[in-house]
């Protein structure tokens, strides 16, 4: 290393320049970078303080409120509490304004200001930044200023790069947050914050996979609130939502071992129990806890509301096909639990799956069956005490192309649930009209009345009366030739509306009967308001009536009601002579049942009438 005075000075300057430049560590954040840089300047250049100013417009939110010392500028300084504010010195303030006003360049300008014995060395980059070194006693030598100017330019560039980097990072962060929010929304229920159906399906699929790895099984609880629609309809959706939130809290309180609780649909919750938890005592305890969630009333405002649920329980393992299948099993078991009153639970069994498959199949095929005339009507004659035919009940039948004969109870229940009962009921009504038209053209000795069943859904349809009136007009038949049979439970669904509708139907000329009487626990108090014409004694009371006193007592009471309200009476499901004799002795003179006639094809019925 040469030691001549010229080279010595050069070496000193190079050393200063290098040391200051090297203090700009690329890994530092902007504040650390500035701090380290200014510390090095203070140590190496023997200055009292260093200040870095940047327009707030450029620096974004780099500066805290206390660091914004001027309306357009913020500063960081070393020491940070320096009581001196160079920007308040008039000559320096002028330079601040000039820097903002100048056209943008990449050239770092240097300026020197002396104020009250203190020396300020300014380095400026138009519109970007100002760096000030404050010194007592003497100014920095010009050769030192020249040497460090590139290092100050490096500082400005590093600041700019750091700010740009921060902006990019902020943007990425914001986007990440937005994505997280979207992901959250996509997988969570907005009301309760619980995992939603999509998330639950993912969780269950993962659990099924884990079962394969650990060779064990898990369980799923499908919790469906009973009659929740009634709560929403009668108390309002806000109350319904409050109940769901309260229930969520209760369920969360019992899911503390890693179970996944979610809201599967409007009023259905699901608990997925991971495979590692699956031991029967655990599941029994969990199920008991779920039941207890419904033991106490739900207090919403001043209102105490009783909520019950039906719970389906099913196991899953590696052999489970997928999450959808497991949920369907839980749903099916839950449907079975719905039959019980109060909160109850049912474990899934394999034959339920067959049932559900058959149900789905029938539901799907029903529509094509109607179009392809796979449905047909049969007639079961009704007779008087002499065995003479006085009428017939028309009954629908379905001969499935693959499954063969489908019992009416089965497919009508499916049609009721899916709503298909409305077009199907209309078809039945039309078939009855056709039958009556046919009968009108037969030389019959006596007028025959045809009865058909009307479902509750069909009956409560707002336009039911208009539609049946239109069919009557279309087929040009007498309204009095048709008797509409409504079940007792259907009438009780909305007694006021039922009375109104029955009144309207009677005004048109229809006769109405109560089907399955005795099964709906009717109360005499409202029976008297129902303007029906006839009561049909349910076959469950008719069967073995000759041997069962309890049945006789019910039938006697029913007869008393009929006499009191001057209603017609017919016993259905009569199968033996003894039943007929007993019923006759009790005063019942009209019958329907296998003892007299099985249901038969319409043509056979017509032949029977005409022979």
């Amino acid at each position: 290393m040469p030691n001549s005075s010229i080279n010595l000075a050069t070496l000193e300057l190079v050393s200063i320049q290098y040391e200051i430049t090297r203090s700009l560590n690329a890994n530092d954040d902007l504040r650390s970078l500035c701090r380290r840089y200014m510390e090095t300047c203070i140590r190496r250049l023997s200055v009292k303080a260093a200040y870095l100013y940047m327009p707030t417009l450029v620096a974004g939110d780099l500066f805290s409120d206390s660091e914004v010392s001027h309306s357009d500028w913020g500063r960081v300084s070393m020491p940070s509490i320096a009581a001196c504010y160079p920007e308040q010195i008039s000559a320096i303030n002028t330079i601040f304004n000039q820097v903002l006003a100048q056209p943008e360049t990449e050239q770092v300008e240097t300026q020197f200001i002396e104020h009250n014995g203190t020396f300020y060395q300014l380095f400026t980059l138009s519109k970007q930044a100002i760096f000030i070194l404050e010194r007592n006693e003497s100014p920095l030598p010009p050769q030192v200023i020249n040497a460090i100017t590139p290092a100050v330019k490096d500082l400005f560039h590093a600041c700019r790069a750091s700010l740009q980097h921060s902006q990019v990072v902020n943007e990425v962060e914001k986007r990440k947050q937005a994505e997280q929010q979207l992901t959250y929304i996509a997988f969570h229920d907005e009301l309760t914050g619980l995992p939603n159906r999509t998330r639950l399906i993912n969780v269950l699929n993962q659990q099924i996979q884990l079962c394969g790895q650990h060779n064990n099984s898990g369980a799923l609880l499908y919790i469906d609130l009973d009659n929740f629609r009634d709560i929403n309809d009668s108390l309002g959706h806000q109350v319904g939502d409050d109940i769901l939130c309260l229930l969520t809290q209760r369920l969360q309180g019992i899911c503390i071992q890693g179970e996944v609780l979610g809201r599967f649909s409007g009023n259905a919750f699901v608990i997925v129990c991971p495979n590692q938890l699956m031991e029967q005592p655990y599941l029994d305890a969990l199920l008991l806890n779920v039941h207890q969630c419904f033991d106490e009333h739900y207090l919403i405002g001043n209102r105490s509301i009783d909520v019950n649920a039906s719970i389906g329980v099913t196991y899953f393992s590696a052999i489970s096909r997928d999450a959808y299948t497991v949920y369907m099993q839980g749903d099916l078991a839950m449907s079975k639990a719905k039959v019980s009153t109060g909160t109850s639970s049912v474990f899934y069994q394999q034959d339920m799956e067959k049932q559900i498959r058959r149900r789905y199949l029938l539901d799907a095929d029903m529509r094509t069956a109607l179009a392809q005339n796979d449905f047909f009507m049969v007639a079961q004659p009704q007779v008087n005490q002499h065995g003479e035919i006085i009428g017939a009940e028309l009954l629908i039948r379905w001969q499935h192309a693959e499954l063969g004969f489908i019992p009416p109870d089965e497919f009508i229940a499916i049609a009721e649930k899916s709503g298909f009962i409305i077009p199907l009921g209309e078809w039945i009504f039309e078939q009855a009209c056709v039958c009556i038209t046919t009968l009108q053209h037969q030389p019959l000795k006596k007028q025959i009345k045809v009865a058909i069943n009307v479902s509750a859904k069909q009956f409560y349809q707002p336009e039911f009366i208009q539609r049946v009136s239109a069919l009557i007009s279309k087929h040009k038949i007498k309204v009095s030739d048709i008797e509409l049979e409504l079940t007792e439970s259907a009438m009780l669904e909305d007694i006021q509306l039922a009375v109104t509708k029955i009144d309207a139907l009677k005004q048109i000329g229809f006769e109405l009967s109560i089907d399955d009487f005795g099964t709906g626990y009717s109360s005499l108090s409202y029976l008297k308001h129902l303007p029906v014409d006839k009561i049909k004694i349910d076959k469950s009371f008719v069967s073995l009536i000759d041997k069962r006193e309890d049945s006789r007592a019910i039938v006697e009471a029913t007869m008393l009601i009929a006499r009191t309200f001057k209603l017609g009476l017919i016993a259905e499901g009569v199968e033996t002579a003894a039943e007929v004799t007993t019923l006759s002795n009790m005063g019942c003179n009209e019958f329907q049942g296998y003892y007299f006639h099985k249901p038969m094809a319409i043509n056979d019925f017509i032949s029977l009438l005409t022979t």
Binding site: M1, N3, L8, L11, E12, I16, S32, R35, R43
Partner: protein, 381 residues
């Protein structure tokens, strides 16, 4: 320094009972804050100080330091008990290696209570690697308007021992900061006067207090070549250990004396310094001799006396000395000559009181705070 001290007590060989009694005596003189400085070879154990501090009705801190000075006497086993008049506040920072944010939080709290004016003292673990970043953080938060004097504390022979205490416990890697929240300013003079004998050398590779290469050559080899040339004696690299105390490094500063960095060991081809040396800094080799050291001590005393304001001089009874232990170790028994040289320059009624430290702390002429080596610092108020 009657303006700030109630009394200063010195004992060359003290027992715990002596210390308790002197503290009680200091309290009785209305001291608002007490600093107990324990020589590294004292029988008083720093671990006994928390209980003593807890039993003392005023705030008390203690520290271990290589040696203490009282009058013209110096001792490695003695203790000093300094009683301060109020108002004075102190802060113990338990970990000077804590994050910058944590340190700033503690110091800003201190500034919020005490303001930025007046004078301050600082005692910091001189053997901690965090000393210099910590001192930079102190300057960042305290600013340049507070005159500061301080010393690096600790025991050179037991570098991992606790060296600072308060009523809550003992610490290493810690610092004590105390200050007067008034506008009195310390008179401080620092000096080493060591001449440059070789250099400059560009520090081309360094890490904290380790210099690996100078002018792109192994640092130890460059150093041994340089002192061989200066001394006229061929000194092999494995022999340079015995020359380290005589040839410290001096870091070039603009308009300031060289910042001395003592070399305390050779580690392979690297040199281990007391205090950090930055990469790309410019260093010289300085030469410490008995005559230079004693002359510098005399100069420091003279300069201090000359600059002392008459009003301050009248009130002052104690002159505080922070003297580098490396000077005492280098001079050996001749260190007494250095003390005598300083005292000769002070007015006769002044008592020199101070410490032999592991690094000295004072403001530069610009106000920044520096951690020095091999330097005499004199202070008075």
């Amino acid at each position: 320094m009657t303006a700030i001290f109630t009394n200063i007590e010195f004992l060359d060989e003290a027992t715990k009972d002596d210390v308790v009694a002197l503290i009680a005596q200091t309290v009785s003189k209305n001291a608002q804050y007490i600093l107990v400085i324990i020589g590294s070879q004292s029988s008083i154990c720093i671990e006994s100080m928390p209980a003593i501090a807890a039993a003392t009705p005023v705030s008390l801190n203690a520290c271990v330091i290589p040696g203490v000075v009282f009058g013209q006497h110096y001792s490695y086993s003695g203790i000093l008990i300094l009683g301060f008049k109020g108002p004075i506040t102190s802060l113990l920072i338990p970990d000077i290696g804590a994050s910058h944010e944590v340190l700033c939080q503690q110091l800003q709290q201190f500034v919020a209570t005490n303001g930025t004016l007046g004078s301050a003292g600082i005692f910091v673990d001189g053997l901690s690697h965090a000393v210099e970043p910590f001192i930079a953080t102190v300057y960042e938060n305290l600013g340049s308007d507070r005159i500061l004097i301080g010393a690096g504390v600790g025991d050179l022979n037991n570098p991992f021992n606790m060296c600072i205490a308060n009523e809550q416990g003992c610490y290493r890697n810690a610092a004590i900061l105390f200050c007067y929240s008034n506008s009195f300013k310390l008179q401080v003079e620092g000096k080493h006067d060591l001449p440059q004998v070789a250099g400059p050398y560009l520090v081309t590779e360094a890490n904290a207090n380790l210099i690996h290469s100078l002018n792109y050559q192994p640092a130890a080899a460059v150093f041994s070549d340089a002192i061989s040339t200066v001394s006229g004696v061929k000194i092999a690299q494995d022999e340079i250990g015995q020359y380290l105390r005589s040839y410290p490094f001096g870091l070039k500063q603009l308009n300031e004396e060289y910042l001395v960095r003592d070399i305390i060991a050779v580690k392979g081809n690297s040199l281990v310094c007391v205090g950090n040396v930055a990469e790309n800094s410019l260093v010289y080799i300085l030469n410490a001799t008995k005559d230079v050291l004693i002359a510098a001590a005399s100069d420091a005393g003279k300069l201090f006396s000359q600059k002392l304001l008459p009003a301050t001089a009248d009130q002052m009874r104690f002159v505080v000395l922070i003297d580098c232990i490396s000077r005492a170790l280098y001079l050996g028994d001749d260190y007494q000559l250095e003390l005598d040289a300083i005292c000769e320059q002070l007015q006769q009624d002044k008592i020199l009181t101070g410490v032999l430290s592991i690094g000295e702390i004072k403001n530069t002429r610009q106000g920044a705070i520096q951690f020095l080596n091999k330097t005499i610092v004199l202070g008075g108020l």
